[in-house]
Amino acid sequence: MYRNDMTRKEIERALAERTPESQRLIESLQNCDRRHFLRVSLKYAGMAAAAGIIQPHGFQLVNVAHAATSASEDPDIAFRFAYVSDTHLYARGMSHRFARAALKAVEDVNALEPQPDFVLFGGDLAQLGRPEELALGHQIIKELRAPVRMMVGEHDWYFDLGEKWMSMFGADHYSFDHKGVHFVVLNSVVEKDFWTAKGYTPEERMAIVSGLDDNRQSSFEVGEVQRRWLEKDLSNVVGKTPIVVFSHSPLYKLYKPWNFWTDDAEQVQAILNRFETVSVIHGHTHQVLTNRIGNIYFHGLLSTAWPWPYAPEGLPQYTVQMSRSDPFNQFDGCGDGYVDVRESGRVDKHYSFWSRNPRSVTAQQLASGKFPGGGYDGPSY
């Protein structure tokens, strides 16, 4: 198995031996980080490729940004799922910058070894909810090797109120069990009808909702229908069962003007409160975002398309902010990532940035209440 402190000679010797141990070394080479990758050098990548053991792309730098520890190496990690989120695709072909970014994320996730149990798509596949955008997204997502769990975002919904999205991907809210964890997927971007009275066309309605700072729209909510469904869905689940909720908007109230917000967050939290271990994974905010309300831990997802600045107020004190993105680098502040579900049912959230060091927010950090940023003094920009 590859270790960061291995010398070239050691690697060379191990490769020459062609024992089961050297085979494992070759397989683990693709998990070495960028710095150690340079030490390993392309020579050995070539050797491994020539031996037909692994694909040469495994040695491309795009892959080595992933954490060196795989799920299988930490016995406390029950399983891992990956995520791709907020691709915001336009129907402008595969060469559009957002399509290229989405494909990059798919490549990243496909390069994870071992493969995650499934991939969460965190919503906002499309930018303007058009059928062609959703179709393009579908085409990109199909490239993922692992099974995909879909979640809807407001950009997917407000052109035809979910018609096309649901015909492609199924129900907008559902639940499933995986290795002892109960997963719930919500459509948390329900808005009260602001369009009928004003006579907005579907295009206008979508354009308004797609504007983060457009105050002509309503606020996001889960809504009564889904809250009742959630209560029913959880009625047969015992309180010790770990719960992981996927929602596009954060299931708490952060900043209303940008809909970093769920209007009925307290009511949804109240339904989840009787469970000992609840994690909420949400999209929409395009940034490192962490919160904890009682037993419920919240994590945001990175976007592949662009990072949002932090809201001017309301940022949870648990959030250690990511620094401002370099506008001159399309991929800075963007990326994908994965979630390790521990035996306890608590999750470690990993942000795999495309042009900066990866970051993790662990369940242990959140449980201890100690987090590296040491408190909140307002958004950094």
Partner: protein, 238 residues
Amino acid sequence: MKVRWVAAMLLFGALSVGLLGAAVGGGPGGERERRASVGAGSEWASRAVWACDRRKMVIVEGVRAGEKIPPDRAQQVADLLTSLMRYCSEEITAKIATNQRITVAANGRIYENYVPGGPLPIVKASFGEPTRREKMIWKAELDKLVAEGDRLFHSDELGTNGIACAMCHPSASNTHPETYPKFQAQLKKVALLRDMVNWCILNPLEGEELAYDDDRMRALEAYILARRAGVPLAAGRH
């Protein structure tokens, strides 16, 4: 106020403010004229004529104090005073030279070759509180430009790929216009806000750069600056 007044008088070469008025034919009702013993030189002479509001004054060159102003020139004086009164209620001093050229002094500045009824580039507010109407007009004008900038900032029409400024900068956040000008390392030069606006149009939006004086550039700058007004500078954070 007095200092400015004296300055204006000196600019016209008037040596005394003890002016006396005399009625001017053809002027608006209630006008009064005062006589002044102006200057001692014999090669020049002038008369000052006040408008009824006691805030506008015209110095008529080539007419001695006490002398009657010829009818055509008197009409010119009356027209000038009327137009100045219509223009604003502030204090303005004007001079009609012997060659009929009009010079206006207001707000401590001189404006040559003034045409009666024409606009005066003076800051009226400097004379005191602007009127409610003035404030409303100014706000409406500002709001119009900011609203156009707001529209452009949220529109995809500046680019070619559907992307709009607000997609990365909701509520003009993270634009920090208060930090410009600055050396923008990535551009390898000192950048103004408009240089970064153009960079964004050119790159993420894949559009064409705007000229610095393009109305759309002015509107974008107006919107960004208006939205960020009052945001404190945070050294080291940008």
